[in-house]
Amino acid sequence: MKITHYFFLLFLVTLTFWGCSKREAPEEIVIWHTMRPEETRQLQSQIDEFQKQNPGIKIIQLFKETEEMRSGFIVAAIGGQGPDLVYGPADQIGPFEEINIIKPLNTVFPKEFIDQFNQKALIYSKGRLLQIADKLGNHLTLVYNKKLVKVPPVTDKELIELGKKLTIDKNGDGRPDQYGLVWNYTEPYFFVPFLTGFGGWVLDSLNKPTLNTPEMIKGLNFIADLRDKYKIIPNEADYNVADALFKEGRAGMIINGDWSWSGYGESGIDYGITPLPFITESGKYCAPMISPKGYSININVKDDKLQKIRKFLEYVLSPDQQLATTLKTKTFPTAVALYNHPALLGDSVLQNSRRQIDLGIALPIVTEMRAIWDAMRPAYQAVLGGSITAPKAAEEMQKAAIVKIKELREDIYDPVGGLIVQILLFGSVAALIFYLRKTIVAFFKNLSKDKFAYALALPAIAIMFAVIFYPFAYNIVLSFSNMSLAHINDWTIVGFAQYLQVFKEPQLYTIFLKTLIWTFANIFFHVLIGVTLALLLNKKLPGTPVFRTLLILPWAVPQYIVALTWRGMFNYEYGSINLILTHFLSMSPIEWLKSPVEAFVAVIITNIWLGFPFMMIIALGGLQSIPQELYEAADIDGAKWFHKLKNITIPLIKPVMIPAITLGVIWTFNNLNVVWLVSNAGEPSDQTHILVSYVYKAAFNLYRYGYAAAFSVVLFLILLSFGLTFLRKTKATESVY
């Protein structure tokens, strides 16, 4: 095969795939939604029915996870694309409206149509109807196991009394085997009912935070008392732990939302629903947040398609279809015509659900809520972790909320700085070209001389730059811009303002230090374990192929599920790691996920586990390039094993390991997923962040794209200086022979 044949073949393959992978954009209605599986199945059956009645219309529904829906839809809609319909809880509407990516619905539907819905189902902002809901709720209630709880509690006193009775240590090992109450109490959303129960709320009528209040302090103390004083809730419980306990019948009551109930039924729990307790001290019921869920239309939808969409929405929002959905999924409908329907009146779950909805408070749709959640979480978890007191936490929440709202609303305007940076940018590009002029000329001269080398090297380099150049340049420009919630579509260059903010970030340096520890701990153990295993496997003892295959499994299994499995293994009470520590090593159990240092160690352990197989494979490949004669010669000279390791193995696998280590450092430094999954987005109290997850959370949650770009450029420069130093030190761009 000649080189020209080789490239011709490559070209042909590419063309073939261009041909057969290209699909025309079909004229179909695309829905993105955040429905749970059973709701999705119900929607699909409604779509099937609708398509049968309307043969000209094709509808596709796609599930998106909440965060992904938000960021994905914003990205797509700004790009002039995206789904035609978005379906989700009303709180996502605030940002969509501010960025102006959804159509007002009162221009699409007649008044008679709109009037048939419960007022709570119609989300207006400044006279524009932005969402029509088909489900009310998304609300927390008290769910109880009828086998354990005969009469559900009404007041907080009754709840505590009952909880004490139900919290039982059956085998006498000092730890309860059954709890009175469980729930995902570390998450602020699941705390809000107790804030409202004592009479507090998160925002005032001007959307200013109201977190530093006596009500907040009482609410925080109440939760801490449930755990520490009355001991009726587990020491450590996230969503999945609480869910498992209740499903196994090891908890009398759980606080959870309407999405979870049918799952309890399917697990064989005879469950009942009752409103959250009445707080005696305040004389108020605990009020959960209520959020309607419904449809909004993408601003990019063209008029001819709008008619089809309208037809579909009229169908799917009709009372008949809502009734069918309600009966299947136990969600509460929005068509007023259904409220006296016998099917609803006769269902105790739905009736109690309605009582809870009536007691609940609507979740504000304003974008500020995002800042409220991010502000509450760290201080709330710090109270539960015992590191600060409730009054201090309330104060910190309020302070953080004010800062975050300011960041969310930031509006940088600096035409002079913008002009300077523009001149600097153009100037530096010009200077670069001028500086490289001789190299560029030499390059073109060389091109004909070194044809062979360029023919081999250029395709790979060209494809890289085709893909990366535009996004990269775009981010550089963005980092000097004011792109934020105030300027998503009309951002301008404002100069170094975003960089100044990055360096003013008080946490920057501690997080940087953590990132360094994270990166080097990971790479050190990846290489150490990987190379050691490779050396052992390379001895080719009987059975090594089996070990080799089993050892790559952590690399082969999708990260998401194993990362969450590890999180489960780190659970304080039920996780296998603590059980091994206590039973086999007689150590005391470790609060892995509750204390910052241990949580960080847990994340690192998980990532070491995920990454060592890949280093092992590379080292195994690298070992093959070492001629056996060298070892034989060394044996004759009577060399010890560590001499052989130091003088033969390490120098000769170095050329193969250096690229892997360099890139391993870069990837680990920027590895968002594992930190995010194992620590549940930085828990406890945002103490387990590395730079990249911090920028992701700080910037994307608050739509600070310009800031995120500047932060990313800083990360890039850190890595670039590392890369240059490391490669110079190891001389990896040179050859060994």
Partner: protein, 277 residues
């Protein structure tokens, strides 16, 4: 042989077994989730075989879900990315290892720098670019992006491996009348088999497991790749854990199979020792 060797081998096995247990335990947990009834991610019991274990999730996967479609789609995408990765990285790595040319050092660095920018930030502009090029809802779009993602590592890795192969091999081939291309293609390329295996595995895995770009680019459910399909089992606070775990295990089978097949060249191909330099 002798007593000392037995002891060394004993500890070798002990160490291998220890790490294999560590490697396997979390995966066994995933298996337990996949056969546990009642859709629970966690359990308070440590039993590997849970009460009421059932394989119905696996049946569900193959009968009621378009799982085979996703497998097929992912196979096509991954196969093309693997082919492109191996073809381009083996040649580019060779050029970077053997020749001096203008721009060599800077292109090697530039390859690395492409990995240094946090990927999430590149998504928006990349998406805008793909819209402009009409590569949305097309495999070509993600194949190009995946190849570009996999190439920097693969090129560096190939370059590093070629560096360990003595120049004298090509020199003698040239003396025997080979062209430069033949010297590469017939002599050096087969000798680099272990590195090619790593390149192939890495390219394959890049395409096989990538989610974020695919989610933005592929909107048509008929084009869904495995990570997108798996994601459809997820949901806020009501993920179908059993199904997700079952699918995750099934998805790893092709990766392991590929590794087993390629292992032959990874550990016992033509090693340099057999070719006296």
């Amino acid at each position: 042989m002798n007593k000392k060797n037995y002891i060394v081998n004993f500890f070798t096995y002990l160490f291998l077994i220890f790490f294999t247990v560590i490697a396997l335990y979390p995966i066994i947990n995933v298996f337990t989730i996949s056969i546990r009834p009642g859709n629970k991610l966690l359990s308070t019991s440590l039993a590997i075989i849970p009460d009421g274990a059932t394989f119905k999730q696996y049946a569900e996967l193959f009968t009621n879900r378009p799982f085979m479609l996703w497998v097929w789609n992912s196979t096509i995408v991954s196969a093309v990315v693997t082919f492109t990765g191996v073809a381009l990285a083996s040649t580019a790595g060779y050029a970077l290892s053997r020749f001096q040319f203008v721009g060599k050092q800077s292109s090697m660095l530039a390859l690395l720098t492409t990995q240094m920018f946090p990927a999430t930030m590149l998504l928006l502009p990349m998406y805008i670019m793909l819209i402009k090029l009409e590569l949305i809802n097309s495999y070509l779009g993600i194949i190009i992006v995946y190849s570009a993602t996999a190439l920097p590592f693969c090129v560096w890795q190939m370059k590093g491996y070629y560096d360990t192969i003595p120049f004298s091999l090509e020199e003698s081939a040239r003396i025997d009348g080979c062209t430069r291309w033949q010297a590469f293609y017939k002599i050096i390329f087969p000798l680099a088999a272990p590195a090619l295996v790593i390149t192939a595995l890495f390219s394959f895995m890049t395409a096989w497991s990538e989610y974020i770009v695919a989610a933005q680019v592929l909107q048509d459910t008929q084009l869904y790749t495995l990570p997108l399909g798996l994601k459809s089992f997820e949901s806020n606070m009501s993920t179908e854990w059993g199904l997700y775990a079952a699918a995750s295990l099934v998805v790893s089978i092709p990766v392991v199979a590929l590794f087993v097949i390629l292992s032959k060249w990874l550990v016992s191909g033509l090693t340099l020792g057999s070719v006296k330099g």
